[in-house]
């Protein structure tokens, strides 16, 4: 059995008196784009929604921050930081960033040829944005442009 997060978090916020968070509920099925070439030839892009930033970059703020960080994929784990409205889930990632932004694993998979390559820059934003309109109109198009610029064949999206 898996944890019913939407129900648990909704009840918790209600008890505390927070504005309810509305998760996106899709009415229609998604588009489908098959991988155009074998994984071993594919350049992989990455998004983390855990509010990751590299040392020297701006942290996120907690009121619908829709900004995106471009993080060099060679960034050492020791230089990765996190700020996210639900900071309580970041305890381990702040000690070992590879729990949420797996640059070490991705570099290893690129080095041994499991994937064709890793984009030069990976991206992060902060999930937990209350405005679905702003996700649709700001975050999604900005990421599409960023991933296209990185010429990726597919993208791995890592939730918090």
């Amino acid at each position: 059995m898996t944890v019913a997060y939407m129900q648990a978090i909704a009840e918790r916020y209600k008890a505390i008196g927070y504005t309810p968070y509305r998760w996106f509920k899709a009415e229609e099925g998604p588009a489908w784009m098959p991988l155009a070439k074998p994984l071993a030839d594919s350049r992989i892009g990455v998004l983390s929604t855990a509010g990751a930033y590299a040392l020297g970059q701006m942290a996120y703020h907690y009121k619908d921050d829709t900004s995106i960080r471009r993080i060099a994929s060679l960034t050492p784990a020791a230089e990765l930081r996190f700020s996210h409205i639900t900071e309580n889930y970041l305890k381990d990632a702040r000690r070992d960033p590879d729990c949420l932004v797996p640059l070490t694993a991705l570099r290893a998979l690129a080095a041994d040829g499991f994937i064709g390559g890793l984009a030069d820059e990976v991206f992060s934003c902060m999930g937990g944005v209350y405005s679905q309109r702003r996700v649709r109109e700001e975050i999604a198009p900005a990421l599409l442009a960023a991933l296209r610029q990185q010429k990726v064949d597919a993208a791995l999206l890592v939730a918090m």
Binding site: T2, V3, A4, Y5, M6, R12, Y13, A15, Y18, W23, F24, K25, G29, P30, A31, W32, A36, P38, L47, A50, L55, G56, Q57, M58, A59, Y60, H61, Y62, K63, D64, R81, I85, T86, E87, N88, Y89, K91, D92, A93, D96, D98, C99, V101, P102, A105, L109, I115, V135, R136, I139, L143, L147, R148, D153, A154, A155, L156, L157, V158, A159
Partner: protein
């Protein structure tokens, strides 16, 4: 995340969502998803366990090639612990304050990060 995945997929980029909340992936109808049944905050593995992290990331990426139908969600066999006691805590409705105030001030992890951001020019105040 599902909104973003659907947007990318609709514009020609195959996506794989990786995370630990099955209900959120199912509601958002992600094109492809890989479920790691761990407490939130460990989507790519246990802390200081590089073998677990590599295993999870490899499995998620493999799904990009092996999944053939939209809305497929693959659940990985990885277990957080042998008893699964963490689930009861994660489901508690009376859990502690699980969210920070919605504030427009940048929330740096360390005070030193603020100095580094100022030094690089990212932060001007």
């Amino acid at each position: 995340m599902c909104l973003v995945a659907r947007h990318l997929e609709a514009h020609g980029i195959p996506t794989m969502c990786l995370g630990s909340a099955l209900d959120i992936f199912a509601a958002g109808r992600a094109p492809r998803a890989t479920l790691v049944d761990y407490p939130l905050g460990h989507s790519t593995g246990k802390p200081f366990d590089p073998a677990d992290q590599l295993d999870i990331v490899r499995a998620a990426l493999a799904g990009l090639q092996s999944m053939t139908r939209a809305e497929t969600i693959t659940r990985l066999p990885n277990q957080w612990d042998t008893q699964g006691l963490w689930r009861a805590d994660a489901m508690r409705a009376d859990g502690g304050d699980a969210r920070q105030p919605r504030d427009e001030t940048p929330q740096f992890q360390h005070a030193d990060d603020r100095a580094a951001a100022r030094a690089s020019g990212a932060l001007r105040d």
